[in-house]
């Protein structure tokens, strides 16, 4: 490889990793929103995956192909516990209890010092998440969502998003679909967290808070949730933008916030108002 290309990759490696990981996070958000729910816990699930993965690698030295599925499994389990009681209630309960989840986990990371390193976090995580692995997983996730979206399940999900009551009357098992979507999204966020931890070498307890959750939401809302590709493009734009336009860095959160406001008020179907085509 040419030396300048090598330097180029070195310079932008974190950014390239970041875009892929954020793409997975955006898909995890998409998965919940596709059934008409709102989770503010994607950052918490991501953190759970990051800590699970980092601990299994650092303390037990397990191989990465074991670590990665494990870091999807733990958030899935927590999603089951959270979703069970709250998904029967109206949507705001899930939103608020997932915010609560983030806080509870933060307190746990801080207090179980011997395991999690407390406020100092975990450092020295080996860099096992290669660019090709991240993007391969992103591609697989995209294809899966595309396939689901085109199937009868995708139709049921869209129906729930539009009118939960009517969807239930159509014979769609609404609670099961909601729970399933939350679990799948938690798994994806967990995988993204594990990949992030294994590409940045250091994780801390304060990285998976409210702001991260809102940022993930803004990925999905910028792109819109008409097709699975849209939120990934949203993540691409919002991740690359502050790097390309460095002076904007101060206003990064302002921009993320404004995107959410504008998207909801004026572009309820996202900036890319696409809709997945089913062959009918």
């Amino acid at each position: 490889m040419a030396e300048w290309l090598d330097d180029f990759f070195f310079t932008y490696e974190t950014l390239i990793h970041g875009i892929g990981v954020h793409g997975l996070l955006a898909l995890s958000m998409y998965c919940v929103m596709a059934v008409g729910q709102l989770s503010l816990g994607q950052a918490a699930f991501m953190g759970l995956g990051a800590y699970t993965g980092a601990l299994l690698t650092l303390k037990l030295g397990l191989p990465f192909y074991v670590v990665l599925p494990a870091s999807a499994f733990v958030p899935a389990l927590i999603a089951l516990l959270i979703g069970g009681p709250t998904l029967r209630l109206s949507g705001v309960y899930l939103a608020i209890s997932t915010v609560g989840l983030g806080e509870v986990l933060r307190v746990i990371y801080i207090n179980f010092e011997s395991l999690t390193g407390g406020a100092l976090g975990l450092s020295g995580i080996p860099m096992k998440a290669s660019v090709s692995l991240i993007y391969a997983l992103l591609l697989i996730a995209l294809i899966m969502f595309w396939a689901v979206g085109r199937s009868r399940i995708g139709r049921a999900m869209e129906a729930m998003r539009e009118d939960e009551v009517a969807a239930g009357v159509m014979g769609i098992n609404v609670p099961v679909y909601k729970l399933g979507a939350l679990i799948v999204s938690a798994m994806l966020a967990g995988i993204a967290g594990c990949l992030a931890a294994h590409s940045s070498s250091f994780i801390g307890p304060n990285e998976y808070g409210f702001e991260t959750a809102v940022t993930i939401l803004s990925f999905a809302l910028l792109g819109g949730i008409g097709t699975p590709l849209a939120p990934v493009l949203g993540a691409l734009v919002l991740t690359a933008l502050p790097e390309v336009l460095r002076p904007l860095a101060d206003f990064r959160l302002v921009i993320n916030g404004m995107i959410i406001v504008v998207a909801i008020l004026f572009l309820p179907r996202g900036v890319l108002p696409l809709r997945l085509r089913r062959s009918a």
Binding site: A119, L120, M127, Y135
Partner: protein
């Protein structure tokens, strides 16, 4: 996948080539990653000021390597570890600097360290006081005195001059900086044989400390050691006096308390607080007096310890480059290990572990009427 990445790389590469600053051959460029925007930008801006002032003095005195100018590229990390890594990668990959000063926070250093060390680029923290920084690799240095060196001096002074025997400890347990300071405090307290009556924690964004302080009040301690950033420390001091904790109970602060903001927020309630500092504005030696006057004239404000540490660091780096005889990272690293410099902070050498060798320059300060003075 790979092919498309390469295509993207080509496209971006062309776009970015134009932004690389054209540097003349007779210049040695070093990089810095500091917080220039966002909530913690105060630290980064002070460091940048100190670095630039030292650089201008060096260039005015003939530069480095027999007449080459020293240049500095400062990148913003905004206090975010990912942005810090991106900034360091840009400095290494695009600007090809042999040495990076910074980043500002220990957390950022933990993320940047493995990257720059992996590329064998010397990285020098001027404000990163947490434990374990230099253990990340052979190319990671720091000129900031770690808390572990400063705290024992403060504690020893409290023991010898105030007769402190029993202490309570408080720290913000969600903050890496505060936690690492607390670890040093605990070690120093055990070393000096203090009796630790209780250890209380709080969140760095908390504003109510009444439960912890009421408990401490009932334990009749001689002193309370607090490790946190300045805001919660100020809140603790105010509430302690409100709860009627007697003035004879001294507070002992860590590096976070070493800020003039403490007096501004807590006022009289901060009276009597002890803190150790690697540098103090009123230090009488000639070098320091000149630094303070020049800084005041140039930036129209008083320097703080971050500016002072940065100023010394730039001088140390310039001397190392001269000794190395070339601006190559490996040679600079060797030369740095042989540093023997006297700066505004006092005499300076590196240990074999690339930390500052002595805590001789540490002064113990106390707060009176909202201002720090040297504790006698």
């Amino acid at each position: 996948m790979y092919r498309s990445l390469r295509a993207a790389a080509l496209a971006l590469g062309i776009a970015s080539a134009a932004t690389v600053p054209a540097l003349a051959q007779d210049t040695v460029t070093v990089g810095a990653v500091e917080i220039l925007s966002g909530p913690a930008s105060g630290y980064g801006i002070a460091i940048k000021s100190g670095l630039e002032m030292a650089m201008d003095e060096i260039n005015a005195a003939g530069g480095v390597l027999g007449g080459k100018n020293l240049a500095l590229i400062v990148e913003d990390s905004a206090g975010n570890k990912d942005q810090a890594v991106n900034a360091a990668r840009k400095l290494i990959g695009r600007d090809k600097v042999p040495l990076i000063i910074g980043p500002t926070l220990s957390n950022e250093m933990f993320a940047v360290g493995p990257v720059s060390n992996g590329r064998k680029i010397v990285t020098i923290g001027t404000s990163t006081t947490a434990a374990g920084i230099t253990a990340m690799g052979d190319y990671i240095f720091r000129t900031a005195l770690p808390e572990a060196d400063v705290i024992p001096v403060t504690f020893k002074t409290a023991k010898e001059k105030l007769g402190v025997k029993t202490i309570a400890m408080m720290y913000a347990n969600d903050d890496a900086f505060a936690k690492s300071g607390f670890d040093s405090m605990k070690a120093a307290a055990e070393e000096l044989g203090f009796e630790i009556a209780t250890i209380e924690t709080f969140g760095s964004k908390d504003s109510d400390f009444s439960a912890q302080l009421t408990k401490i009040k009932s334990l009749n301690v001689d002193a309370i050691a607090v490790s946190a950033l300045v805001e919660p420390v100020a809140g603790i001091l105010l509430q302690a006096r409100q709860l009627g904790l007697p003035e004879t109970v001294r507070f002992i602060g860590g590096n976070g308390s070493n800020s003039p903001r403490l007096g501004e927020i807590a006022g009289e309630a901060a009276n009597g607080l002890l803190v150790g500092s690697p540098w103090f504005i009123a230090k009488k030696d000639e070098l320091n007096q000149k630094f303070v006057t020049d800084f005041q004239a140039r930036y129209n404000k008083a320097p703080d310890q971050f500016a002072a540490q940065a100023y010394d660091t730039m001088k140390i780096v310039a001397e190392a480059i001269d000794r190395a005889g070339s601006a190559e990272s490996d040679k600079i690293r060797e030369a740095l290990l042989a540093t023997d410099h006297t700066g505004v902070m006092g005499p300076f050498k590196f240990t074999e572990g690339r930390d500052p060798a002595s805590a001789e320059g540490v002064v113990v300060l106390t707060m009176q009427g909202g201002k720090f003075e040297i504790f006698e």
